[in-house]
Point group: C2
Chain length 381, copies 2
DNA sequence: CTGAAAGCGCTTACAG
DNA sequence: CTGAAAGCGCTTACAG
């Protein structure tokens, strides 16, 4: 490959890298002056600064992240460790959307995201320790918050800037961003109660996670407040667990008339069980999900769900983490004490066909729209 | 936070970092000897090496990536730039699964993945240039390959190790990994032909992408070989385009009896149009998709699709890129010329209910299984 | 096989 | 406001 039209400027560094020394030489100043100028710090006159910046542009100088990091500057990288198999992450709509949102904000601020997949929560903590002592990241985002999560005290002790995704009340002194699951639970239960359901079951996900516990608790509390009969059915992880749990609920003497699923994947699995049992949604059983995604929207009937853009969630998390990192840097200079801050995202309910009001008789639905298409498709075969 | 049980070893570096100088002092050797020892290079006796490694472990030494990078060693990072909005990436099942696969392999080899979201393909090339001149990455993975993709010559000129996801025949001198779309097309067309369909339409995705073109071409060629009538309907991007295209196909004088969609998202959108038109799948129209995902599996009837684990795709891509990076390093020493290598992933067809053989009459399907449940659910309301 | 030294490209005190 | 210097933690020739 011969270099064609534009020959890149050659510097004095290894591999013809352009360095601040090259700029300094051209500008007739020291490299320290260049450093101050390009970093927007006081210490050089405006005229000198302008001249230096001009030359830097001309030479197409790019700072060396390695040199900066070695000299103590931020490494412009945040880390995220995931203690789940790649296969499962890949199957989850949440993961991709969340990462995309994180990336969007981080990229804009010239930060990059470093991810690592490990086997166990312990390995996750070990990774934090290594990243910290290697100075590989300026901060980390903690996901999949658990009850009594060992990562929280570990991070507090390390002093590595961190943002916890999840909460509230279980993130120690670390700042957190979370979706208000108690609120979401009330929205769902109230909606089903308004439709006249009095026996509601919740098919609950993996209870090592904090949000599952919070849903469990609020579900029971809200049902009691409204005088509803509530069944909390733990279903472990994923679709197969949801199938078993749904089947179990249906075999009860008095099966519930509404099912609440912890994820859209679980909701769909549950719907299939209902279908095979000859039960129609929503005519026989109403179905709703804590998670919205194309899966929930694409199902027939489309599934009522808690809307929460995972992409937006990722954006907010990134924003907050960058704030924390910036604050840390300030504090190092001013010596002020930081305080844990928390931000709650308010979920909203998206009502769809799977919880449509039960119209009796065969008169058909009164309002026919794209959000609530007929569940009975006429056959012209 | 007082440090409790185990006090971390303090070194001489800034912030009490343990450095190779500390190890050298303890071992009574120079730091150069330590460097050789910990990197497994010849130059120190076995006995000395053992002693050095022992002390390194004891002191819990961690190498500084910044220092290593600055001294010319690999930075252990690979990059990926995406020229698509976060919102769209998030909605795509492929993205998350692919990244998870990449991560799995990279994490294992102690590499990290750096991602960046940009607006345009030009900005993508600019990012490559910057990463290269900053020595921020050891290599990059190129996705969303286009026809006459400007990134290919740019990367060739830069000399940055790269792996192209997509192909074949359009990745210049760069190595590539791709799914054989021609093969996939033949699998789909042949399957539909065997079922007796003679008029097949393909609802095609965004044709800026190379794989769309390859499918277009093979689709036409295979249909001609089999004497089928084929309709190639460009649908632009995403669900709404697919809806319009499907509606258009149905309004033809002789509408097709089978529809082939470029993605599962499009297939579902198409199914909804069929449903609203009162057409049953597969009884009236058969449907198949080039992409498999929970969306395709969860639909009723489940959709026949090309199976290709995006996670596995990511793993293979990461493996290949690491090979390319390693080869580059070797070559720099030996001076041998590298040659572009290509790896094709063979797709397979997963037959599901959406293309079930058309049984005439109301006798119902003969084999009733979870993969092909009744489309008519009996109502017990 | 080992030791002493230079250098990677930057930042940050510390004198003038 | 500016200049000269030390230092970040490592690797890599280059002498012994």
């Amino acid at each position: 490959m011969a270099a064609e039209q534009r020959t890149p400027p050659r510097g004095s560094g290894r591999g013809q890298r352009v360095t601040i020394a090259d700029i300094a030489r051209r500008a007739g100043v020291t490299s320290a002056a260049v450093s101050l100028a390009v970093n927007g710090r006081p210490g050089v006159s405006d005229a000198t600064r302008e001249r230096i910046l001009e030359i830097a542009r001309e030479l197409r100088w790019e700072p060396s992240p390695a040199a900066r990091a070695l000299a103590g500057a931020p490494v412009l990288t945040v880390g995220m460790v995931l203690a789940r198999p790649a296969e499962i992450l890949g199957a989850e709509a949440f993961f991709g959307a969340f990462v995309a949102g994180l990336q969007e904000v981080l990229s804009r601020e010239d930060y990059s995201l470093q991810m690592k997949i490990v086997e166990t929560p312990e390995a996750e903590i070990e990774t934090f320790r290594r990243w910290f002592s290697q100075r590989r990241v300026d901060g980390v985002v903690v996901v999949d918050l658990r009850l009594d999560d060992a990562r929280i005290p570990a991070l507090e002790e390390l002093g590595l800037p961190a943002l916890v995704v999840g909460g509230p009340g279980h993130h120690g002194s670390l700042p957190s961003v979370y979706v208000d699951d108690a609120h979401a639970t009330r929205l769902l239960v109230d909606h089903l109660a308004e439709l006249g359901h009095t026996r509601i079951a919740r098919v609950a996900g993996d209870d090592v996670f904090l949000h599952t516990h919070q849903r469990d608790r609020t579900f029971a509390a809200r049902c009691e407040e409204l005088g509803l009969e509530c069944l909390n059915q733990p279903a472990g992880f994923g679709a197969s667990g949801a199938e078993v749990a749904t089947a179990e609920l249906l075999s009860r003497e008095e099966p519930p008339s509404a099912l609440l699923f912890d994820s859209d994947e679980m909701a769909l699995a549950g719907c299939h069980v209902l279908e095979q049992a000859g039960l129609a949604v929503p005519a026989d059983v109403a179905v709703a999900s804590y998670e919205d995604s194309p899966l929930a929207r694409g199902h027939r009937p489309p599934i009522t769900a808690i809307g929460r853009s995972a992409t937006e969630y990722g954006r907010v998390a990134a924003d907050r983490l960058l704030e924390v990192i910036a604050a840390r840097r300030e504090r190092r200079e001013t010596g002020g004490a930081g305080e844990p801050e928390t931000r709650a995202l308010i979920p909203e309910l998206i009502v769809r066909g799977s919880t449509a009001p039960q119209l009796d008789g065969a008169t058909g639905p009164s309002e026919e729209g794209p959000e609530r298409p007929a569940t009975r498709s006429s056959r012209t075969a």
